[in-house]
Symmetry: C2
């Protein structure tokens, strides 16, 4: 069906994480990979409800400060959180728009197979008049 799927979307805007605009394959990769870790999912959940410093986050997981810091960096690269400097601290906040973006992506998948079902319905409709 598709061979050059790695060059589907527009060029990379700079490996950053823009809020609007199409996502490149690499960005979608980063997005899903960032969520493929329970600690990172938990950090996202946490920072969606209330902001937290890296120290606060690090205090709640059974790993080093540096490890948590790297998780936050991965989430930031994926655009799932943003960091803001406040004095010597870094405030981490979840980015709901990014979650919605993933939902959009999956809705795309959903439409694909809904489309298949729709076609099946059409076939049934040719046989029986009231196939709901």
């Amino acid at each position: 069906m598709i061979i050059g799927h790695q060059a589907r979307t527009t060029a990379e805007p700079g490996t950053g994480a823009p809020s609007t605009a199409e996502l490149t394959d690499a960005e979608v990769d980063r997005l899903f990979r960032a969520l493929a870790d329970a600690t990172r999912r938990d950090i996202v959940r946490r920072t969606l409800t209330s902001e937290a410093t890296i120290s606060e986050l690090a205090g709640d997981y059974d790993m080093s400060f540096a490890a948590v810091q790297k998780h936050v960096t991965a989430l930031e690269a994926a655009g799932l959180v943003v960091k803001e400097s406040r004095g010597r601290e870094r405030i981490v906040r979840g980015v709901p728009e990014r979650i919605e973006r993933i939902q959009d992506l999956l809705r795309g998948f959903e439409e694909i197979w809904r489309g298949r079902i729709g076609r099946m319905d059409a076939l049934f409709a040719e046989d029986s008049p009231t196939t709901g």
Copy 2:
């Protein structure tokens, strides 16, 4: 907020991919990781619309048969596709329920921050009677 987040759900049902039942952290990991690759996303898209053999899939990507085979194995382990034997061929089909499951997960995230907004609305409601 949560420390023992790795032991939230029920025990693993056998590293398989059941259609119903709660997903363990490890299963969610596998699910997101499986989607963190453009080739695998493309295979899922393809097999959601129409089934395909491994050979057919392998023919469309610029990599070896074995590589595509491993991608399919990863997707199968994540429950995103199922394989069925038909003679010497293996028919690969996408599993829409699994996509829906991820949507459910993300909807959980959405509710978290919607909850925050809801609380903000409540605060505004105390000040002005017709906010929204």
